[in-house]
């Protein structure tokens, strides 16, 4: 899954990470100068989508003389499809894994569908319900972004409080029968144009800024003696993206003459095989926890057996990629691959990224590496000792597990973001919290005062 933002970053460390994803997108050479036409062509789909959306909205927004529902819905769905295809074409698949992509599509559809329904729904109560669905979709997206606290807060505040208040006000302001406000729109064409044109402009902005963003990467990729083909396997899913990028590559070469293929390989953090090994290690660790749950004295052999396996697996990934040695305290494959190759040999495939995100991961890995070995030693001593301490062993196992997760790129679980968020909010933004609290109090009092019925004195 996706790695959450590191805690180090949360405690104020400026890591300047610009991507948590291990994969870098492929980019082409900087745009040729005569590219206004090209630019216009490249955003043609956006313009088409905006026009279709405007058309659909002008058909769907409430009108006194009836709405052309089927046409409008068709237009909107067409616009959404065009947009999805274009963004997929432009920026690649949204996530690494299938599940992630499907979930993203689902939640995005819920959000956009709910929003669309809210905009065109005549009955305001139904509109409120559609809004609730939109909130749920957005909350799902928050979850995908490793922000569970935001999800919870949004659901509580919006779907819980605000929508209910809306419904209360709806009940208190009943209008019977068809009424102007529900069955008419103010300037549907111009309003739709303003809204969707603005959205289209933002999309165009995204398009432009994503074009130029990879340039830093190109400059930063300076290879020393580079060129060797990475013998590791490709990470799954990259192939599709590569194919789509065929025309975008436009034959541009990097300064150092590395083929794009190699580049992509080089930019991976972990190979698939390593990933599998780490996962296996994790599984063994889970078993190790089971072992630890039981009586330690009896199961000593099993303990050692499991630990050995784990150790093997982990060391294989973390310790050394070379088959030859164990790498007692030396830098292993991973760090080598992540560091500028000072002393790179043919066997090692140096990997370097100026990407601050990766550098942070790298630093973390270094730390993990440092502690990992100590942890190993500790666990080993514990596992292999005569009288193991259960609590400390459990703790060590947990620690190892988390470090492996970090290596896997999972980092910390999304649940940690809650505590990180609390950390940040209550340290750096304490004053803002207090102020917002007072603001909410004032708003409450104000709302009550404003909505009071003035009995006796009529204005």
């Amino acid at each position: 899954m996706l790695a959450g933002p590191g805690k180090g970053a949360a405690i104020g460390q400026r890591n300047d990470i610009s991507s948590a994803f291990p994969c870098e997108k492929m980019h082409e050479a900087p745009m040729p100068e005569s590219s206004l036409v090209m630019m216009v062509n490249s955003i043609g789909p956006v313009v088409l989508a905006v026009l279709l959306a405007v058309l659909g909205s002008s058909w769907l927004l409430p009108r006194p003389r009836g709405r052309f529902v089927s046409g409008g819905v068709t237009a909107w769905i067409a616009a959404a499809v065009i947009l999805a295809v274009w963004s997929y074409h432009r920026w690649g698949r949204p996530t690494l894994e299938l599940v992630g992509s499907v979930l993203f599509l689902l939640f995005a559809s819920a959000a956009l569908g709910g929003g669309a329904t809210l905009v065109v729904q005549r009955n305001p109560a139904r509109g409120a319900i559609a809004f609730a669905f939109a909130i749920l979709g957005v909350c799902g997206l928050f979850l995908l972004l490793a922000a569970p606290f935001l999800m919870a807060v949004t659901i509580i505040v919006y779907a819980g409080a605000i929508i209910v208040t809306f419904l209360f006000v709806l009940m208190l302001s009943q209008t019977a029968g068809p009424s102007d406000e529900n069955d008419r729109s103010r300037e549907p064409l111009l309003g739709g144009l303003a809204g969707f044109a603005f959205a289209g402009l933002v999309l165009w902005l995204l398009h432009i800024s994503s074009l130029g963003n990879g340039s830093t990467l190109v400059r930063a990729v300076e290879w020393g003696e580079v060129g060797r083909q990475n013998q590791t396997e490709r990470v799954e899913g990259r192939a599709d993206v590569d194919e789509d990028r065929e025309e975008n590559r436009s034959g541009g070469t990097t300064p150092s003459g590395i083929t794009p293929q190699t580049q992509k390989e080089l930019l991976t953090v972990l190979t698939n095989a390593e990933r599998q090994k780490l996962r296996e290690a994790l599984r063994r660790l889970d078993h190790a926890e089971e072992i630890l749950a039981g009586d330690l004295r009896q199961e000593r052999e099993k303990r050692i057996g499991y630990f050995e396996t784990v150790k093997d697996l982990v060391i294989q990934v973390v310790g050394a990629a070379r088959e030859d040695e164990m790498g007692a305290a030396r830098e292993g494959t991973l760090s080598e691959r992540l560091v500028l190759p000072v002393h790179a040999t043919e066997a090692s495939v140096p990997l370097y990224r100026s990407d601050p995100q990766v550098r942070a991961v790298m630093a973390q890995v270094q730390r993990v590496r440092a502690t990992n070995w100590r942890t190993f030693k500790h666990i080993e001593s514990q596992f292999l000792s005569e009288r193991p301490e259960k609590a400390s062993m459990e703790r060590e196992v947990q620690l190892l597990r988390q470090e492996l997760l970090v290596l896997l790129g999972y980092g910390e679980t999304p649940a940690r973001t809650v505590s990180n968020l609390g950390y940040v909010v209550y340290s750096e933004y304490l004053l803002a919290v207090e102020v917002v609290g007072v603001l909410l109090l004032i708003a409450t009092v104000g709302a009550v005062t404003v909505a009071q019925r003035h009995t006796g004195e009529r204005e």
């Binding site: 206004l36 103010r186 300037e187 303003a194 809204g195 044109a197 603005f198 402009l201 165009w204």
Partner: protein, 653 residues
Amino acid sequence: MSELMNLVWLILILPLAAALAAALMVPARLGRTLAHVPLVVACACAALLAVTILSQWSRIPSGQILSQAGTWFAAGQLQVSISLALDPLSATMLGMITFISSWIALFSAGYMAGERGYARFFAIMSLFVFAMCGLVLANNFFLLLGFWELVGLCSYLLIGYYFHRPSAAAAARKAFLVTRLGDVGLLLGIFWLWKLSDGQTDLTAVFDHVVRHRPASGEIDLACLLLLCGAIGKSAQFPLYVWLADAMEGPTPVSALIHAATMVTAGVYLVSRCAPIFVLSPTAPIITAWIGGGTALLAAFLALAQTDLKRILAYSTVSQLGYMFLALGTLGAVHPGMAVVAALFHLLTHAFYKALLFLSAGSVMHAMGGVIDLRAFGGLRRLMPITHLCFLCGAAALAGVPLLSGFWSKDLILDTVIAASEQGGAYSGGYYLLLLIALATALLTAFYSFRAYFLTFWGPQRIPAEAGEYAHESPPVMTIPLIALAAGALGAGILLEPLTHVLSRFLATTPTVQQAAQLSLTTEGQVHFDWTVALISTVLAALGIGVAGLLYHRGEPRQLPAILEPIMALSRRELYVEAVYQAIIVRPLEGVAFLAKVCDGALSGTVRLIAALPGMVGQGFRVIHNGLVQFYALAMMLGLTVLVAFVLLRVAR
């Protein structure tokens, strides 16, 4: 000598102080009853001072005192100083002005009693007296011009005294504008004289310089004619006489003082003052004579059939002013002293009897409740005996009944014209013709003056409805001035000139007259009394009086003799002069004014259009603000979208 000058300054300042006092009284309640006091007191004191000056004339050695009070303004070569000159000419005028105005002030205290704006009247009258005194005393052309304009202003204010009446306001405007036309000529003449005299503006300096350096005769002609323009305008000669008849819209004391005795004589005074240069000019005097003579006859003709008593008197004033100009027109041909004396003598006597006639008319009007139309009343001789007798004295003096003042002054003018026709050289025939015109005018004068007399005081007694209970003799405050002026009308003439030659001897000592006398080619200083002409004029006067009595002694006849009918009809229509002026002058000017208004309208319309453009644009854009929140949000979002698209395009490139 300096005390005399101080008295002169005092004469000047007293009416001004009275004007200020009366003006301050305007808002006060006292002003409604006591505003006449400053004027009467000031005029009386000024008259006494003038008499004092005249009586102490022997103390002036050179015949003139000049007093300079400082520089008014100076700009480059132009230096204007406040300088006054007291010489016999100005002293005579001063005496006449102050004397007449004090009686008229007294009269108007009674006449204007109860009027709205009582204090305003006296304030402006006082200001007028001040300005007139300043005019005759001024020794600087620009100062003279200033006072000239000031009397014009006072005349405007007083003609338009009843400004609520549209006819009065129109008459005031007309008077001001018509005299303005003449004033343009006066201004140009002053500038021309300034140039001719190499930058002098004081009268004495200008005359000295011109006499010494003798510019070309054409240049002097131009100067004299330009000055004459101003005189024509102010003294209501042809063609600028049309304002005087309408000026009768003002209160009767105003007509008496301003439009009979003083302001209209300012033109005569100006020409008399400028005698030196008029003598030097070859053509200006004869032109003056013809203008004067022609106007006299024309005005007398116009006065024949008028039905408004004051209008008759107004045209009569124009006619008599024509006589004065005729007298001045002999400047080149006879001894300048004679011409000036003749004009001034007639001016003095005319002041007396015309003021008397106007005040009598005012008394009648006061009794008749404001009606002055001859057709509305009649046979008042028993109702208003004092007024009747005074009017008779004035009418007789006007007609030239022998031994009365008018007879003597008119005869002096005729004698001067005869002398001019004998000595005039190239223009002798012209002067002879003018003599005949003057005699014809005398006949007409007698006729119309007694027509007015008979229609007013003879015939069946008719009192108009407006009179109500007011039809009684005027109170003493109004009749005493009448009696005083009647005394003057009867006796002033014989006392001043024919036997004693007081006036001519006095005026002959005027420096400017002496200067003119030196320039003139004639040497004859004294005018002989021509018995023939006197007899002819007496016969004509008797004829005129007789015909008038015959026709009108029983009031308005039902039918006039057939001979006189067309004449009277033409006269009634005032020879259609108004219509002619309207067509020739007024309509084109109105057209020009309309064009100017159109251009101005176009300009201001353009400016207004430009000023209105933002408003119109805003009005167009106002539709956007329809108060709908969603519309505003939509507009904002569309704008933001455009902006972001623009920025992205720039970035992407």
